[in-house]
């Protein structure tokens, strides 16, 4: 079946421009996560949506970053006034329920590689 889909797969933008990254989770998955992976580093948590609960935004690095999710479907991550340090692979993941559920692993998309020049 269809997995988590992210678009675009690659994005090159100039410093100072705004970018919008899209994530289509697996249908029916209530939880959606955004992570960032800089070159040679681990995954950095950005934001977590769980059903109708208020999102956990504790990982967003600055107010230039924001994310929205419409119901239990598509999510967009927006980076305003991009900086070179924003260059990274942005990963989206979804899961059926909370991670504490036995049948609820995270399913990751292939990521969007963002390069800020």
């Amino acid at each position: 079946g269809a997995g988590v889909s992210q678009s675009p797969s690659n994005k090159v933008t100039e410093k100072g421009k705004d970018v919008e990254l899209r994530c289509d989770p697996i249908s029916g998955h209530t939880a959606l996560y955004w992570y960032r992976q800089r070159l040679g580093q681990g995954l950095e948590f950005l934001i977590y949506f769980q059903g109708n609960s208020a999102p956990d935004k504790s990982g967003l690095p600055s107010d230039r970053f924001s994310a929205e999710r419409t119901g239990e479907s598509v999510s967009t991550l927006t980076i305003q006034r991009t900086q070179q340090e924003d260059s990274a692979v942005y990963l989206c993941a979804s899961s059926l329920y909370r991670v504490s559920s036995y049948n609820s692993p995270l399913h990751f998309g292939n990521g969007t590689r963002l390069t800020v020049t």
Binding site: G42, Y48, L91, S100
Partner: protein, 115 residues
């Protein structure tokens, strides 16, 4: 706050040798622990997890991990590795009631299996 430390960024090992990838976590409450694997040119996928019950958990491809609460560790082991195990391995933790917190990942350990 929850955090994860993977001390080894790279682990080279010969085929059929045993391997241990170390993971230590920091949390003040109950935790759920995971290992994810990223094979070359593929996305992250779940390898195994500890939610409750037996502290030793196993994957279908021969890996196992043991939750050690006193040492706050969740090391990943395999008695005999194969070339196909070459990948990056990420330890992750989620804490609190019903795992309400999103997963926090470690920085990853690159396992390089040599013939």
């Amino acid at each position: 706050a929850q955090s994860v430390t993977q001390l080894d960024s790279q682990v080279p090992v010969f085929e059929e040798a045993p391997v241990e990838l170390r993971c230590n976590y920091s949390s003040s409450v109950s935790v759920y622990l995971f290992w994810y694997v990223q094979y070359p040119n593929q996305g992250l996928q779940l390898l195994l997890k500890y939610l409750s019950g037996s502290t030793l958990v196993e994957s279908i491809n021969g890996f196992e991990a043991e939750f050690n609460k006193s040492q706050t560790s969740f090391h990943l082991r395999k008695p005999s590795v194969h070339i196909s195990d070459t990948a990056e391995y990420f330890c992750a933790v989620s804490e609190g009631s019903e795992g309400r917190r999103a997963l926090t990942f470690g920085s990853g350990t690159r396992l390089q299996v040599q013939p």
